[in-house]
Symmetry: C3
Subunit: 138 residues, 3 copies
């Protein structure tokens, strides 16, 4: 069985980290599938999906680390060509990746206690994001 | 239903970024599966798979960023032991990861408009890569 | 068909890299599923899963690279708030990601010859990790 669902997330951009665990769990419950795989996928090339212990300290740490590794204030060829000013957003998104797959067992996502599913919006402006939840199983 | 397919990609190596979206879509269409999951997986330990807006500016930005973060011109223990000279290629591949999972809905990959599936070949020579496309669904 | 399995791994922490390929293969064989998807997922927010050519040189290279990119010896807000001292572990885990999906074809994982599945434990102490293996297919 395959059930496709999606939900919208309003982000502030600039490496905004949003805990989407509850929204994913709602779609999984609605799917009636109890065992299988839950794929969380964000459309677009300037956002990513991963897991983290969602607390303000780590959110700030992730933002600071990404600013150091893939800075927003250095020149990008993407910006020289297209004037978008969000070259850094694209590179961060490609490195994190747009999808996450979580096992589903007896109706529960097999996450750890302190492990939430996060959407990270790397773009340089607020965005309304569409997150796909694909549930495959029985 | 499960359908396994694969295709070959000739890369130039050295962080060559190849847009493989069309090839993945061809295999998905041939599978006759309309809803489910499409897993794209590259065999080998010096290549990765992700998504990006495929345009020359961002390709150059990704290459420059990876050269800064995981340089090719510093010593690697792998090279001291094995003489391959591609320690940097391995580390980049491990960080990006070899697989990507994309939801399939009504016969279409749920990608964004400016979001292509890319193979990145980090090796220090041209390579012929085998990319697996595994389609699971109904 | 869906089969859920799991196994435990004892790690030393501090970016300990553990080759878990054999353990994953054992669970896949026990599942009797021959074609489909194998998802490897680690519970918790301070470990990650990926692939690499598992040899001591590359293990050291990965550890050195991560120490340079996401250092253990700089201040983290997470540590200031919670006193765990493992802020660096969390950020590394979020960047690598907790899951890997590998195609399963005729009973074999479609890995390359020099490509092993690794668990990387980023935490700042030894940990007993639970790794989920979810096999979906036929």
């Amino acid at each position: 069985m395959v059930v496709s669902a999606s939900f919208a997330v309003q982000s502030k951009g600039y490496c905004d980290v949003v805990d989407i665990t509850d929204k994913v769990e709602l779609e999984v419950a609605a799917s009636k599938i109890r065992n299988g795989l839950v794929t969380v996928f964000v459309r677009g090339s300037t956002a990513g999906v991963s897991t983290m212990e969602f607390e303000p300290g780590l959110v700030a740490d992730l933002q600071r680390t990404l600013e150091k590794l893939i800075p927003s204030n250095v020149p990008y060829n993407h910006d020289a060509r297209w004037g978008d000013g969000n070259g850094f957003s694209h590179i961060r998104a490609t490195m994190m990746g747009p999808s996450l797959v979580v096992p589903l067992q007896s109706g529960k996502l097999s996450l750890g206690t302190w492990q939430q599913i996060i959407l990270v919006d790397f773009d340089n402006r607020p965005r309304r994001r569409e997150v796909q939840v694909q549930v495959v199983g029985e």
